[in-house]
Symmetry: C2
DNA sequence: TTGACATACAACCAAACGGTTGTATATTGG
DNA sequence: CCAATATACAACCGTTTGGTTGTATGTCAA
């Protein structure tokens, strides 16, 4: 409902919409990595990778911890789960549609045949 | 592994990174809607909404079906699920990290204390 | 102290994005 | 046939994005 929620969703999906950032997420979810060790993995400047890390950090998908002169990044699995739950909500909306169709079919059993066409696969509820 | 998979992921996350498009997804997952009926719901031009629908269609998140002069859009729940499974894979990477830490702890029980710090909540596997 | 390393950040640039208006093309109803 | 409706798409425009280089700051090691 809140606009802030939508802002968060915008930031999360946007952060994940870049393949380099998704790859960074895989690495930092597997374990801590300094920004420079991450940068060494990609064919682009250090500054570019640092900006990608900053985008992920602003979205809450990773956090950083100082260790001497290095900045160690670690993936925030809870943020990943929050994105998954947004998708679950979308799926729930779809399930609601199926339930409504089922109810219709239950009310007038013989009237509507072939109402669920091939493009909407009727799977488990 | 394939670049095309990453292209698909780029398109899916990008398509979902806009709040208007996410709202359109909620509507078309709940049931079929013509492009103009969708456009009527938003404070922007018909063309803008039509472009949003096109972005979602190109990403495979919805499909259209002609009905007379109307174009009826319907949400593709399988595409939504495919995004969810990408996030599940990310979560699996994280779970792998925890497993590795557990194994380390099992090998040398007393050496590593407080190895899992406060920023990495140790939850269920 | 000095130099090498790790990071941060500003300025710049081309391309993509999200919106607009305008025009063209089908399709329906009278 | 004609007018209204529904859609598609091109052209344009300001902003954001994803990259670059250059510079500044902080930390470690000799």
């Amino acid at each position: 409902m809140d606009t802030t929620d939508e802002d968060r969703a915008d930031a999360l999906f946007h952060a994940l919409s870049d393949r380099t950032r998704r790859d960074i997420m895989r690495r930092v979810l597997a374990g801590e990595h300094s920004v420079s060790s991450l940068a060494a993995s990609y064919d682009m400047s250090f500054a570019a990778v640092q900006k990608h890390v900053a985008v992920l950090e602003r979205a809450g998908l990773l956090s950083k911890r100082r260790s001497g002169r290095e900045q160690l990044a670690t993936g925030e699995v809870d943020a990943v789960r929050s994105v998954a739950s947004m998708l679950d909500e979308l799926e729930a909306v779809w399930r609601g549609r199926i339930d409504r169709i089922d109810e219709l079919l239950a009310r007038s059993p013989t009237r509507l045949t072939r109402f669920t066409d091939s493009s909407s696969p009727d799977k488990e509820t």
